[in-house]
């Protein structure tokens, strides 16, 4: 990982940071394997450079962006966000990145665009979870946001963490971070961003629609069908004795900023 030039940001939570060692060794990134330790252990062959991201669909100026040009063009901010996994654990991570809205502005979305679809790279030769007899999910991994969610100032395209370029296990070289949603919405190693007028299907929703929805907003009042979402274990903060459970907050504590996006919506039906 190389050092990134970053500027401070107002988006910083006060919670104690999760140690870098834990942020970079406890990951869900099924393209590299199902165990939390697999992404760090099995991503040695992955090449995050050179890398381009295509932004296309319902836009006036579809373009292919080089990752290093993006990092030069947009000021990279350091933002400290809570990250809540759907599996009921959480972290506090200093991400380095720029708002997705800044990138969307470059391609000028058309008035007809209502949603943003994302796609992860497919490279079986470099990603052991994508090859072999047993494949956990259909590839590519896909995700989606409503356009207003995508344009929200909290929605970040991260290119680094802890002041350095993203390690492969965290979604190098560029990934999405939507701090009020469950972690699986934060699609990693993005190669394509497509503006569309139809609600995109996301990988986990397609895999199990009873358990994972399109919105996936953090919500302690809506349990996962098989486990509770009322509280979470904060990784790294607690030791072996005392699991360091925190109550889970609506919208992961970002309700003041984002609750208005969903006014009038039944969040139990749109989970």
């Amino acid at each position: 990982a190389e050092a990134l030039k970053t500027i401070p940001s107002a988006y910083k939570v006060d919670d104690k940071l999760t140690p870098k060692k834990d942020v970079t060794s406890y990951n869900n990134f099924y393209e590299f394997g199902l165990d939390k330790a697999d992404p760090a252990a099995l991503s040695g062959d992955f090449k995050p450079r050179p890398w381009t991201v295509v932004v296309d669909g319902m836009v006036a100026k579809p373009q292919r962006f080089d990752i290093d040009a993006l990092i030069k063009e947009f000021p990279v901010e350091e933002r400290v966000y809570r990250m809540r996994c759907v599996e009921a654990w959480s972290m506090v991570i200093p991400w380095d990145g720029f708002p997705l809205a800044a990138l969307l502005d470059k391609v000028e979305p058309l008035g007809s665009a209502k949603y943003v679809a994302f796609e992860t790279v497919v490279r079986p030769a470099e990603m052991p979870g994508q090859k072999g007899l047993f494949q956990s999910l259909p590839w590519p991994y896909v995700e989606g946001l409503r356009l207003d969610e995508a344009r929200h100032p909290l929605t970040l395209l991260a290119v680094g963490l802890y002041g350095e370029t993203l390690p492969s296990q965290n979604g190098a070289p560029i990934r999405l971070v939507v701090p009020w949603k469950y972690g699986f919405k934060g699609i990693k190693s993005i190669v394509r961003i497509t503006l569309t007028d139809k609600q995109p299907v996301n990988t986990w929703q397609a895999a199990n629609p009873q358990e994972y929805g399109f919105y996936a907003n953090v919500n302690p009042a809506v349990d996962h069908p098989r486990w509770s979402q009322a509280s979470e274990r904060r990784i790294g903060e607690s030791g072996f004795f005392g699991a360091g459970r925190h109550p889970t907050l609506p919208f992961n504590g970002y309700a003041d900023e984002v609750a208005s996006l969903y006014s009038g919506m039944d969040l139990k039906a749109n989970f």
Partner: protein, 210 residues
Amino acid sequence: MASAQMSFMKRWQPQLIWALYGVGLLPAVWAFYQGATGGLGADPVKSFEHLLGLWALRFLILTLAVTPLRERLRINLLPYRRALGLLCFYYATFHLAAYMVLDQALDLAVVLEDVLKRPFIMFGMAAFVMLVPLAVTSNRASIRRLGRNWIRLHRLIYLAAAAALLHYALSTKVLTPEQWIYIGLILALLLYRGVRPLLPRPMPARSRAG
């Protein structure tokens, strides 16, 4: 060679059974030591819980394997079955204790809600509850007192195994290859009981050690 082994096993059987308890409990001691000294990674409580549950499952599989091994491969582990079954029960107890004490910090309201609302925890708790009477009646006195009913009661292990299997299978987002192996083994061992009447007669057990 085989007969020398047999007579060795027979001669040292009581000691071997105690050794089995000792060796069988080592993974729990090691996992606890690792957890207490920061060796279980970023989410130590979950890793510890998971390890204990996995060992309960392993001893359950070994317990269920005793009969087919004896009937089909003439490997007689019957003298060790009680120890294997009790080790399964001990690990299930540790697993439950880790969940209640380390994970949920003895918040009984949360535990109760979990048990009543979450299918995977419900199945796990059901499996544990079924193991209790089996462990309690695993002594010679109970076998004598219960007679034929002892055998009937201990058939509960099949139901407990099915509940444990569901608990394990429902606990994750997707089934890993490792999970498929355990699930396959338990299913095969349960299935064996179902198809046994249709199979050729079991090989006669070796009556003598030599």
